[in-house]
C-alpha cells in the first residue's frame, strides 16, 4: 500500500435508521469513510450490511439520519444522484445484464458520460459514433486491467461465477467512481480467485485512488486489506476501528462466536 495517502472524510453517515414495516434493518448507525481508504463493513448474516450499502447509493431511503457526501448534507440519496456524484457498486448476487455481452455490460457503466441524442444514435452519425469509439477505448483499458480480454464478446449468462464477479467489478469501474461499494466481492470463490480479486481491489485503490467500502465475510481478507473496519450486528453498530482494535473488541468476538447477548 505504497504511495497512497488517506485524505479527509469523504462520506459521513449520521444516525441512519431504516426499517421495512416492523423490521428494523438499521438502527441509529453512524460511521465515516475517508478519501482513498479501504473501509470494511463486517457482521453476521442479516446484520444489515447490504442495507447499509443500499442506503449509501440510494436504493433504500432511511427513515432517519443524514448522509454527508463531499460536504453536501442530504436526508437520503437517490440512485441517479449517487451515480452522478461518483458512487459505484457491485452486488452480492451478481446483478449483471444477463442478455448482453461482457463488452455491452461494461459499456453501460459509461452511460452517464454519453451525451449524444436519440436521432444521432439512430443515424449513427457525428457525436454518437465518436462517443461509441471513445468510450470503447476506455472500456478496453478496464478489460485489460481486469484481464478479461478473451471473454469480451461472450454473453455474461454463459460465464462461470468467478468471471461474472469480475465483470460486475468492471462495470462499476467503467463509471470511474470516486467511491466504490463492493458487496461481498469474494463470496463463493476459491483461494486463487480470491487472491486475484484482492489484487484487483488493492490495485484499484492504489492506482486510481478510489475509496473502497467493502462487505466481506472472509476475516483473513478483511483484516489484511482494510484500513478501518465497522462491525454491525442485528442492525446496530458494535465496533469501529482499525483491524487490530476490532479484533480485540469483546462485543465483536461474542457476536461472531454466537455467545448470548
Amino acid at each position: 500500500m505504497s504511495g497512497r495517502k488517506i485524505g479527509d472524510v469523504i462520506l459521513d453517515l449520521n444516525n441512519i435508521s431504516l426499517s421495512f414495516g416492523g423490521v428494523k434493518a438499521l438502527q441509529n448507525i453512524s460511521f465515516n469513510v475517508m478519501e482513498h481508504e479501504v473501509r470494511a463493513i463486517i457482521g453476521p448474516n442479516g446484520a444489515g450490511k447490504s442495507s447499509m450499502l443500499n442506503v449509501i447509493n440510494g436504493v433504500y431511503h432511511p427513515q432517519e439520519g443524514e448522509i454527508i457526501f463531499r460536504g453536501e448534507h442530504r436526508r437520503d440519496m437517490d440512485t441517479h444522484q449517487a451515480a452522478e456524484q461518483g458512487i459505484a457498486r457491485t452486488f452480492q448476487n451478481i446483478a449483471l445484464f444477463k442478455g448482453m455481452s461482457v463488452l455491452d455490460n461494461i459499456m453501460t457503466g459509461r452511460n452517464l458520460r454519453m451525451k449524444s441524442n436519440l436521432f444521432m444514435q439512430a443515424l449513427w452519425i457525428g457525436p454518437a459514433r465518436r462517443e461509441e469509439l471513445e468510450h470503447r477505448q476506455k472500456v478496453e483499458e478496464i478489460i485489460d486491467f481486469l484481464e478479461i480480454q478473451h471473454i469480451r464478446k461472450t454473453p455474461v449468462g454463459r460465464l462461470p461465477y468467478g468471471l461474472q464477479k469480475r465483470v460486475d467489478l468492471a462495470r462499476a469501474l467503467a463509471m470511474e467512481p470516486e467511491v466504490l461499494l463492493l458487496d461481498e466481492p469474494m463470496a463463493g470463490m476459491n483461494v486463487e480467485e480470491k487472491q486475484d480479486m484482492c489484487r484487483f481491489i488493492l490495485d484499484v485503490n492504489d492506482q486510481f485512488g478510489t475509496t473502497i467500502v467493502l462487505i466481506e465475510h472472509d476475516m483473513g481478507v478483511v483484516m489484511d486489506i482494510s484500513d478501518r473496519v465497522v462491525v454491525l450486528d442485528y442492525g446496530k453498530k458494535i465496533g469501529d476501528g482499525v483491524p487490530d482494535e476490532v479484533r480485540a473488541n469483546p462485543e465483536v468476538i461474542s457476536a461472531y462466536l454466537g455467545a448470548s447477548h
Binding site: F20, S50, N54, V59, F91, Q92, A95
Partner: protein
C-alpha cells in the same frame, strides 16, 4: 331513485359474472404463476358443450325431463373440462415450467385459439340457448320504499345465489381439504411444495379443472341469459380489469373487484355515456383499473412486492 337502484343492481349482476371469470384467473395464477388468457375460451367451450349436450341427450337417451337432461349434460361437461385440464397440463404447461411471464401468457393465448377452434368444430358455431329452468319473469321489489318499486329479474337473483354458493364452496375447499391446502402451498412456493412431496403436475390438473368448473358455472349463467355464442370468449378481456383491481392473487379481491367494475361500468354507461357517444363501458373499466394501478400497483388485496438487492 328507483332507476338508480335498478342500474346499481344490474351492475352488481354483471359484476358477479365478472367475478366468476376473474376467480378462474386468480385460481390458476395463484397455483402456477400462469396468467390464463384462455379463461374466456374455457367459458365459451364449457357453455357450448353444456348447451349442445342438453340438446342432444333427450334424443339419444329418450329422456323427457329437462332437469335430468341438464344434469347429465353438466356431468358430461365437467368430465370434458377435466380432460381439457389434463391435456393442457400434459401437452403445454408441463413443458413450459420456468418460462417467463410473456411466454406463458402467449402460450395461453395459443390455448385460447385451440379451444375456440375445437369447441366450434365439435359443437358448432351458431347461437345456442341454455335452459336450466330459471324463471325469467321480473318481480317488483321495494315498493314500500320507492314509488313504483324496483324491477328485478328473478333469474338474476338465482344466478347471484349460485355464484355465492360457488364462492363459499371454493373457500371451504381451499381452507378445509388437504388438496386445498396443498394448492395454497404450491401458490406460496413451488419448490418448497415439491420438497415436501406435493405433486406439482397433479395440483395443476386440479386447479385447471376447478377453473374449468367456474368457467362452466359462468357459462351456464351467462348463456341462459344471453345465449351461447362466440362473443362469450371475449368475456376474458372484460374481466381483466377486475383482476387488476382486486389483485392477481386474491380470491376476495376477484369478487369485490368484479362487483366494483360491474357497477362502475353500468353507472358510467348510463350517466356518462350519453354525453360522449356511448359504448364507453369497456374502456371505462380499464381506465378505472389503470388509475387505480397508479396509486396501488399491487391491487386492492394483492401482496406488496418488495425488491431485494
Amino acid at each position: 331513485m328507483s332507476f338508480f337502484i335498478e342500474t346499481l343492481l344490474g351492475g352488481l349482476m354483471t359484476g358477479m359474472l365478472y367475478s366468476l371469470v376473474a376467480l378462474g384467473f386468480v385460481l390458476i395464477y395463484k397455483a402456477s404463476g400462469v396468467f390464463n388468457f384462455a379463461q374466456g375460451a374455457m367459458v365459451l367451450f364449457a357453455a357450448l358443450a353444456m348447451a349442445r349436450f342438453a340438446e342432444w341427450i333427450p334424443g339419444w337417451l329418450g329422456i323427457e325431463s329437462l332437469f335430468l337432461a341438464n344434469l347429465i349434460a353438466i356431468v358430461i361437461t365437467v368430465g370434458i373440462m377435466f380432460v381439457v385440464a389434463w391435456l393442457v397440463e400434459r401437452l403445454a404447461l408441463r413443458h413450459l415450467v420456468n418460462q417467463n411471464e410473456a411466454t406463458l401468457l402467449m402460450a395461453t393465448l395459443g390455448i385460447t385459439y385451440v379451444l375456440d377452434g375445437v369447441g366450434q368444430t365439435l359443437f358448432g358455431s351458431d347461437i345456442y340457448k341454455i335452459d336450466v329452468g330459471m324463471p325469467k319473469d321480473p318481480v317488483i321489489m321495494f315498493e314500500a320504499l320507492f314509488q313504483g318499486g324496483v324491477l328485478i329479474n328473478k333469474e338474476d337473483f338465482i344466478a347471484a345465489a349460485i355464484a355465492a354458493i360457488l364462492v363459499a364452496a371454493l373457500t371451504l375447499f381451499f381452507q378445509k381439504t388437504p388438496t386445498g391446502r396443498a394448492l395454497r402451498a404450491v401458490a406460496d412456493d413451488h419448490q418448497a411444495a415439491l420438497s415436501v412431496g406435493i405433486p406439482l403436475d397433479r395440483i395443476w390438473v386440479i386447479v385447471w379443472c376447478v377453473a374449468g368448473i367456474t368457467a362452466l358455472v359462468a357459462g351456464i349463467i351467462w348463456g341462459s341469459k344471453l345465449g351461447v355464442q362466440f362473443s362469450l370468449s371475449t368475456v376474458a378481456l372484460r374481466a381483466l380489469p377486475v383482476v387488476i383491481l382486486g389483485g392477481l392473487t386474491s380470491v376476495p379481491g376477484a369478487i369485490i373487484g368484479g362487483l366494483i367494475i360491474g357497477v362502475g361500468e353500468k353507472i358510467s354507461e348510463v350517466y356518462l355515456g350519453p354525453y360522449v357517444g356511448g359504448g364507453i363501458e369497456i374502456w371505462f373499466a380499464y381506465m378505472l383499473a389503470l388509475v387505480f394501478l397508479l396509486f396501488r400497483p399491487q391491487g386492492l388485496f394483492g401482496e406488496k412486492i418488495i425488491d431485494r438487492v
